[in-house]
C-alpha cells in the first residue's frame, strides 16, 4: 500500500554517499538501493519520512523533513500551533516490534 507521495521531502546527494548501505538497512519500505557503491532512491513513493536513513547517514548525504504520518498530530498542529501526538492513554501509534 502506498500513500500520497507528491510532497515527499526525501533528498539524496549521491556525491556525498560513501556506499555504506546503512540507508538500505534501516529503511522499512525498501526506498533505497545501492549499486556500484552509490545509493540511489529506488522507490520514492514508498517513503514515509520516518527519518531513519538521514539520521543514520554518517556522511550527511540524505536529508528529509521527518515526522509522524498521523492526522491527529497534524490537526492538533493546526488547532494549537504545536504538532503534538496524543501520547496519553489513547495513543494511536501501532504497538509493534
Amino acid at each position: 500500500m502506498k500513500y500520497l507521495s507528491k510532497d515527499i521531502s526525501l533528498r539524496l546527494d549521491a556525491g556525498r554517499c560513501s556506499g555504506c548501505k546503512m540507508c538500505v538497512m534501516v529503511c522499512p519500505h525498501g526506498v533505497f538501493a545501492v549499486e556500484n557503491t552509490k545509493a540511489h532512491i529506488a522507490d520514492r513513493e514508498a517513503c514515509i519520512e520516518c527519518g531513519a536513513c538521514a539520521l543514520n547517514c554518517a556522511t550527511g548525504a540524505i536529508t528529509v523533513a521527518s515526522g509522524v504520518g498521523c492526522a491527529e498530530t497534524i490537526i492538533n498542529g493546526l488547532l494549537t500551533g504545536k504538532e503534538t501526538c496524543c501520547g496519553g492513554d489513547a495513543c494511536c501509534c501501532p504497538p509493534q516490534a
Binding site: 502506498k2 500513500y3 539520521l55 491527529e72 504497538p95
Partner: protein, 342 residues
C-alpha cells in the same frame, strides 16, 4: 519477573524468562483493547535473560511492556542481555519518532548499567524500527558500542541470530496485513467513543423535531432507531475501514472512508428501510460518509505507510470539506422534520 531493582553495583535490574505466562497473554489482550495501555510498563535498565555471560548478545528494547514481552518471547532458549530504554511506556517505533528511543537515552543507559564492564564484546542489537531515533555512528563514537540493526519484527530474531546477525531484505520490511490492521482498529473506538456516542444522541434528538403532534412512543421509536443505526454503522466503519483499506478507492484515507460511509449508509437505508423522507435519507448518507471519512483520516496515525507530508496535504484538503459536509448534513437532518414532503 522481578522488575523492582534495588540494584547493587553489577546486579541486573531483573532476571526474566522467555516464555510467556498467562499473565503476559492477558496483559497483551488488555493493551490491545486499550485498557490502561500507557501503564503497561517495564522498569528501564538491564535485564538478564536466562544465564548470560560476558559474551552474550545485548538486545535493546523500549519500556512498553508489549515491546519487551515480544522480544523475550522471540528469544526462547537463549541467554542474553536486554537493555530497556526509558521510552515512557511507548513502543519502539513511536518512541523513536518522538526521540525518546534515542541516541542520548541509549548512551545514557549504556553508562548507567555499566555495560562496558558486563560484556566483553562491543555490539548492540537494536530493533530496526528504532533507527528513526538512533544515529548508529554517534552511538559508536560516544560509547564504543556498534549498533547492529536487527529485523523489524522480533519474531525473526532467531533467524537473524542464526545468520550471524544478517537480516534478509524481507526481514527489513514493515508490513500491514489484515490482522495487523484489525488489531489497531479498536484504538479509534478509544479515541472517539465519546464523540460517536454524543453524535448519535444529537442525531436521535434532532430526528424528533418538531415534537408537535407526536406521541411519546413514536418519538422513542424514532430516536431509538436513529441512535442504534448510528452506533452500528459508525462502529462497522471503524472495523471495516482498516480491514478493507487496500481495496477502498484512491490513496487518500478521507476518500476511502467517505466511500465506505456511503456504502454503509446506502446499505442501512436499503436493508432496514426506515420510513424516512428523501431529505432525511440524503442527510443520513452525507453525515455517515463524513463521519467515516474523518474516522479513517485519523487512522493514518495507526498505519505503517503514511508520511507526514502526505497527511499534511490530505488534512488541508479534506478537513474543510468534512466540516462543510458535517454542517450541511446536520442542517438537512434537522430541516427534514420540518419539511415532511421533501
Amino acid at each position: 519477573m522481578r522488575s523492582d531493582h534495588q540494584a547493587t553495583a553489577l546486579e541486573p535490574c531483573g532476571h526474566v524468562t522467555a516464555e510467556w505466562t498467562i499473565r503476559n497473554w492477558l496483559g497483551a489482550l488488555g493493551v490491545r483493547l486499550n485498557l490502561r495501555r500507557m501503564h503497561y510498563r517495564v522498569t528501564p535498565g538491564l535485564y538478564a535473560l536466562g544465564k548470560p555471560g560476558p559474551d552474550a548478545p545485548v538486545f535493546v528494547s523500549a519500556n512498553y511492556k508489549l515491546s519487551f514481552d515480544h522480544l523475550r518471547q522471540a528469544l526462547v532458549g537463549l541467554d542474553g542481555w536486554i537493555l530497556v530504554l526509558d521510552t515512557q511506556g511507548v513502543n519502539v517505533w513511536c518512541a523513536a519518532g518522538k526521540g525518546t528511543f534515542g541516541t542520548a537515552e541509549l548512551i545514557g543507559k549504556i553508562r548507567e548499567c555499566r555495560l562496558l564492564e558486563r560484556v566483553t564484546h562491543r555490539r548492540l542489537i537494536v530493533p530496526q524500527l528504532g533507527a528513526s531515533g538512533i544515529a548508529a555512528h554517534e552511538v559508536r563514537k560516544q560509547s564504543g558500542f556498534a549498533v547492529i540493526y536487527g529485523p523489524v519484527y522480533a519474531a525473526n530474531l532467531p533467524a537473524f541470530l542464526q545468520a550471524k546477525l544478517h537480516a534478509t531484505p524481507a526481514m527489513r520490511r514493515v508490513h500491514f496485513r489484515w490482522y495487523e490492521r484489525l488489531v489497531v482498529a479498536p484504538v479509534e473506538i478509544a479515541l472517539y467513543r465519546r464523540e460517536l456516542f454524543l453524535g448519535g444522541l444529537a442525531l436521535a434528538i434532532l430526528a424528533c423535531l418538531p415534537t408537535a403532534g407526536a406521541s411519546w412512543a413514536m418519538l422513542g421509536q424514532r430516536s431509538g432507531t436513529v441512535f442504534l443505526l448510528w452506533l452500528v454503522t459508525s462502529g462497522l466503519a471503524i472495523f471495516l475501514g482498516p480491514l478493507l483499506l487496500p481495496w477502498l478507492p484512491t490513496r487518500a484515507f478521507s476518500i476511502k472512508g467517505a466511500s465506505l460511509g456511503l456504502a454503509l449508509a446506502l446499505c442501512s437505508l436499503g436493508l432496514l428501510g426506515p420510513d424516512w423522507t428523501r431529505l432525511r435519507s440524503a442527510a443520513w448518507v452525507l453525515l455517515l460518509s463524513t463521519a467515516a471519512s474523518y474516522l479513517l483520516l485519523n487512522f493514518t496515525g495507526s498505519t505503517t505507510f503514511t508520511s507526514p507530508s502526505g497527511v499534511r496535504r490530505e488534512v488541508r484538503l479534506a478537513l474543510p470539506v468534512q466540516i462543510v459536509a458535517g454542517v450541511v448534513g446536520l442542517t438537512a437532518w434537522t430541516a427534514a422534520g420540518f419539511l415532511p414532503t421533501w
